[in-house]
């Protein structure tokens, strides 16, 4: 067992756990941040996606030791108070979900995509988000949501 100092959504936490414990387990079991979801446990579905220093990672296969002293952002830390992040708003506007279980991870992957590539083509979006599964099949709506978010960032 090792003690880790973590920065999650701008707040400092201290967690004692094994070095190999996945980030997802620490977020959910220790910090009770339930936005990131378990889906497959092997980095295949993206439901557990969170940002580490702005990059999307699969938190179910990332050991906690990898993110110590780095900035972790989860879906809970994305908006500002009542204000939704433009990507969250775009998902809402396009009803880019059905059951919603993939949505937090999907939104985090979209935020990372737009940071890297503020004006993605449809092909870019498909390729970059291919690690995130929506079993309900709302892919076309998610693509539209990303395009709207990209435009609103441009306007703003």
């Amino acid at each position: 067992m090792t003690n880790f100092r973590l920065n999650v959504n701008g707040a400092e936490f201290s967690v004692t756990t094994n070095e190999t414990t996945p980030v997802l387990s620490v977020l959910r079991d220790n910090l009770h941040l339930m936005g990131a979801k378990p889906g497959c446990g092997e980095g295949q579905c993206g439901a557990c996606t969170v940002l580490v220093d702005g990059n999307a990672i699969h938190s179910c296969i990332t050991p906690i030791s990898d993110v110590a002293a780095r900035s972790v952002v989860t879906i809970e830390g994305l908006g500002r108070g009542a204000q939704l992040h433009p990507v969250q708003q775009a998902f809402l506007d396009h009803s880019a979900f059905q059951c919603g279980y993939c949505t937090p991870g999907m939104i985090m992957a979209c935020v990372a995509l737009l940071k890297k590539n503020p004006h993605p083509t449809v092909q870019d979006i498909r390729r970059e988000l291919n690690g995130n599964l929506c079993r309900c099949g709302t892919y076309a709506r998610i693509i539209k949501a990303v395009q709207q978010a990209a435009e609103s960032a441009q306007d703003g």
């Binding site: 809970e76 939704l84 009803s95 079993r135």
Partner: protein, 702 residues
């Protein structure tokens, strides 16, 4: 008889309720619960066949609708809210739904078979319109006003002198001293204000914030974590076992009950580690040889079971096959196969069970809370009233989550330890311990005229099921039968279940007839259809798609399929490109008619999603297994549709306000595979008669 039955409403009295019921009622907050019953009006309303607690009116004026249906992503939390708001003449924001809490809500049946819209919508409509009528009646009585002059707007009636009569005033109405009969006409669909609009998902804001609590997100203080030692396959029984090493691990407890063997521990990791050191022998667990799957299914098939006419009779017969085949100018015979696939709901199931005395509460994400309650009660030999099942909005099911599996396991672990226990299935367990979509063999023999008119049609489904057994074509001589069989893998429900395989076989066969007769695949269908709604969706989608404007060939193919299933009329056109053994879906156009549309955006979302889920089963999804176990029960080994698999999809919705709404979450999956197969044949001349198609297509050589 039915017209003599009237709706009676009365204030709910809570007496003699069980502990779970009293606990449950706290969820409603302060206000009044209203009970509904249907009674024979002529008999003076003496007989009380069935009392249903359906509506609660809070002191804050919020109306709570209680239903046994649950939200799995298909949008019924929103559409049922719309229906209630419409009939109550109330803003949707003043309506709340409590779904799937067995101690509180009526048993509306499982959330399956696309039945929420055709069955539960009318029930809620009726209760809410009766409530609106009661509001008018009570206001008229109190104010000595003429009933006909009163209308409800925004949930209240405005009288002279600024008087207001609202739903919460009903609580004190002397009219409600006894049960009151109140039947009212539902709002005319042509006057809908809330229904027929694309009201956004009620839970949408919570979803995009990651704040919607699924059952796997629920946190219970002091809850232990469970893990079950599962057998290699469903046919195994537990022989001898040695759990002594697990029992000696700190804070680990082993629970053994017949064939069930599981552990609890303070953390999921500890529980997994404990299960890993249990040594168990499983006996009698042969699945059979997967290479002989289809031959075995046919060999073990039984004659069609003639039950009373239900939704899907196993035998459909008309005219004379012999006469039809004799008269036909051309004949065609072919066999089609579909294999086992998984539902793969992204949320693997989780259950949290807690006993208090002889009563147990289970939080879970099932599609069928009352079935799960019944199964738990039966397994433990306790009264159903002692089991409370509470369902959270679910990370979807697609027909996967009907039975008590994880739930019963959690209940056993909690009983064995007398502590609350949380049991979360892994993805691997979700693949290997849940039932899967049946494999099936379909045999078709047809006789046809040179102009494409089908005269004879013989259809057999082995092991799949009877949904979509009825062809939507006018065929004078026909015989269609479903033969149940013995399945090596545990099989169960699925989105549209057998309709996927039956529609694939039938539509592919019709496409083959068109090719044989050198007819246009759209034309041969239109020549055999006299269903005006099906014709309309076909022609409408064909026009939008631009059917016939470009010729297939050179690796580009255009195809189509149509179906009528669960009241939905659907046509789907596909454009694809083939590059070697790769199939690239470019564009799909669907037209769909389910009668009156309650929420166009939710409906469109369901159609898009069902088509996309169909792509997986059509092209690449399959469970692989050997004689003892499923081999590819992981997402790294089992391929489901991703962003790069999905074409542009356009959905045209045909709204018929005069036709009662059919359910729509399932049927649009049925045309995906045959539409792709039709386009694949058009592009390459290769006819693939099995699902998934890609392995067979790649193996067919170029």
């Amino acid at each position: 008889m039915a017209e003599n039955l009237r709706t009676f409403i009365e204030r709910g009295l809570v007496t003699g309720a069980s502990f779970t019921r009293r606990e449950a009622l706290k969820r409603l907050g302060s206000g009044t619960l209203f009970l509904f019953s249907l009674r024979n009006a002529k008999a003076g309303g003496q007989k009380q066949p069935f009392l249903t607690s359906r509506l609660h009116i809070g002191e804050d004026g919020i109306v709570t609708v209680l239903t046994g249906k649950v939200e799995c992503g298909q949008g019924v939390r929103t559409t049922l809210t719309q229906v209630a708001a419409e009939e109550l003449s109330l803003e949707p924001g003043r309506v709340r739904l409590i779904m799937g809490d067995t101690a509180l809500v009526p048993d509306d049946g499982g959330t399956w078979g696309s039945l929420t819209t055709p069955e539960t919508v009318p029930v809620i409509r009726k209760a809410c319109s009766a409530m609106r009528e009661l509001l008018c009646r009570c206001a008229a009585s109190e104010w000595h006003a003429d009933l006909k002059t009163l209308t409800v707007t925004n949930g209240q009636i405005s009288g002279t002198g600024g008087r207001i009569y609202a739903y919460r005033d009903l609580t004190r109405s002397p009219l409600l001293a006894n049960a009151v009969s109140a039947d009212a006409r539902s709002i005319d669909p042509n006057s809908w204000r809330v229904c027929g609009t694309s009201l956004r998902a009620i839970n949408g804001a919570a979803i995009v914030r990651g704040a919607l609590p699924y059952s796997s997100d629920l946190v219970f203080d002091r809850a232990l974590h469970g893990r079950v030692l599962h057998p290699p396959n469903h046919r195994c029984t537990l022989g001898s076992f040695d759990a002594s090493e697990a029992e000696h691990l700190p804070e680990v407890r082993v629970v053994h009950d017949g064939n069930f063997l599981g552990v609890t521990a303070p953390t999921p990791d500890q529980a997994a580690a404990a299960v890993a050191v249990i040594r168990a022998e499983w006996t009698n667990g042969e699945l059979g040889d997967p290479r002989n799957l289809f031959a075995d299914l046919k060999a073990k098939a039984k004659p069609p079971e003639l039950k009373e006419a239900g939704r899907y009779p196993a035998l459909l017969e008309a005219g004379s096959l012999a006469v039809g085949m004799e008269a036909a100018e051309h004949k065609l015979e072919a066999t089609y196969h579909i294999t086992y696939i998984g539902h793969v709901p992204l949320e693997a199931r989780t259950a949290i069970a807690q006993w208090q005395g002889d009563q147990v509460t289970v939080h879970c994400g099932t599609q069928a809370p009352f079935s799960v309650r019944g199964e738990i009660a039966k397994a433990l030999n306790i009264p159903a009233e002692n089991v409370r099942v509470i369902v959270s909005d679910t990370g979807s099911g697609y027909g996967a989550k009907h039975n008590s599996e994880c739930e019963l396991e959690a209940v056993r672990l909690a009983r064995g330890t007398q502590e609350p226990v949380r049991l979360a299935w892994s993805r691997h367990e979700e693949f290997t311990q849940a039932y899967c979509r049946p494999a099936a063999v379909m045999e078709v023999r047809s006789g046809v005229q040179g102009d494409g008119k089908i005269l004879a049609w013989e259809f057999h489904n082995y092991n799949g099921g009877a949904a979509s057994l009825a062809a939507p074509y006018q065929i004078p001589n026909r015989y269609a039968a479903y033969h149940a069989s013995e399945s090596p893998l545990r099989q169960g429900s699925y989105r549209s279940l057998a309709a996927v395989g039956n529609t694939f076989a039938r539509e592919t066969h019709v496409d083959e007839l068109a090719a044989m007769l050198k007819l246009d695949p759209l034309e041969i269908r239109l020549r055999n259809i006299d269903n005006a709604r099906l014709k309309a969706v076909l022609t409408c989608a064909a026009e939008r798609f631009g059917w016939g404007k470009s010729r297939s060939g050179n690796g580009v193919g255009y195809g189509l399929a149509c179906n009528v299933e669960k009241g939905g009329h659907l046509a789907l056109f596909t454009e694809l490109e083939v590059d070697g053994s790769n199939v690239h879906l470019k564009r799909m156009v669907a037209a769909f008619d389910v009668g009156a549309i309650i929420n166009p955006d939710i409906l469109s979302n369901q159609v898009e999603g069902a088509i996309i889920q169909g792509i997986g089963g059509a092209l690449f999804e399959q469970l692989e297994f050997d004689k003892t176990r499923i081999l590819n029960g992981r997402l790294v080994a089992y391929r489901v549709p991703r962003f790069t698999d999905v074409p542009d999809i356009e959905v045209i919705l045909v709204d018929h306000r005069d036709i009662p709404s059919a359910g729509a979450g399932e049927s649009p999956i049925t045309t995906t595979a045959p539409s792709i197969g039709s386009a694949l044949f058009a592009a390459t001349g290769k006819r693939i008669r099995e699902l998934p198609m890609l392995p067979a297509f790649a193996g067919s050589g170029s």
